[in-house]
Symmetry: D2
Subunit: 105 residues, 4 copies
């Protein structure tokens, strides 16, 4: 399990600065902004306004990490151990949601 | 570096099912839904419509993991190695964004 | 032109209360929450996790109005006359974006 | 009541084109993109990364109209009469939500 390392990465960087973490509502706005940028890229590739080559995956990877970064800030602000919650999420996937779709043979 | 483990967790679970990953635009809608749930919780805690105790961090951790889960699905769908992009993100933090805020003494 | 009437509707209701408009970052979180609810409904109808009948349009209409309500609050908070900006938006549609797609014969 | 006029504006413009309305999941992605742009502007003005003057309200008005435009497309796609749902929304405000906050004397 390993989201903890990512959380430490972010904390080390943020801790250098006087300002520290943004307040939670500003992190939400940040996350909405980043999800918006990912949405634009995905709409450009898969929506009706096709504009770009779908060869290059650089932007999608960057935009995904920008959203994850905002999520890590939110977790760190609240001193949340994400590995614990990730484990719970996976347990729920294999528990409650296990038979939600048809399995391969 | 370790987002790879999380990506494998998700892939192992999704690969059981015939349906596989959602199409990218459906993943965006999923991410918007999960970010919406996190937003409600954060607004309840920090916005003017204060309703809940801020002692319990359970819901915030769950909602964060739901958003991350959607991001991991988006990455896996595109066969993106997130550790690589996370490293780039951190390099950008220490590079371009290094002096964006005042540092502690 | 007529978004002004909608803006007045909202202002009349909000003005009854001591609290007044939410601060802008809380309105963003509210809008993200409402867009999330619309996203869930749309994903249920058109995404791979089809669950519901697509006959009933009640929920979609409600969720759309909830997003618009948040936008009206944001405009009113800033004393923005939306009819003016709507006119500009339409002018841009017929100007810059006029030949973005192929027209019907 | 008057969202109908706005709906007709959009329909007149969209109906010129062969492509017509985007599919609903693409409209969600469009709305997420536009809400993201509004979020950035609001975070710039009210969040900790203050960058801009708050005198000019032009961008906020434009971004709000971009979100509303996406909502109108979603309504038109579903042949929803928004005036009807807006009336319901207002009724709910004066009904269920009437005593949610303290009123002015």
């Amino acid at each position: 399990m390993s989201l903890e390392d990512i959380q430490k990465d972010v904390d080390k960087w943020v801790s250098q600065y006087k300002i520290g973490y943004y307040p939670p509502l500003a992190i939400i706005a940040q996350a909405a902004e980043e999800l918006g940028e990912l949405s634009r890229e995905i709409n450009n590739r898969y929506g009706p306004r096709i504009k770009k080559s779908d060869k290059d995956t650089a932007d999608v990877g960057e935009e995904i990490c920008d959203v994850i970064f905002a999520m890590i800030c939110m977790a760190n602000y609240h001193k949340i151990n994400l590995d614990e919650f990730w484990k719970r999420k996976m347990d729920k996937c294999y528990g409650r949601d296990d038979n939600r779709w048809e399995k391969k043979e």
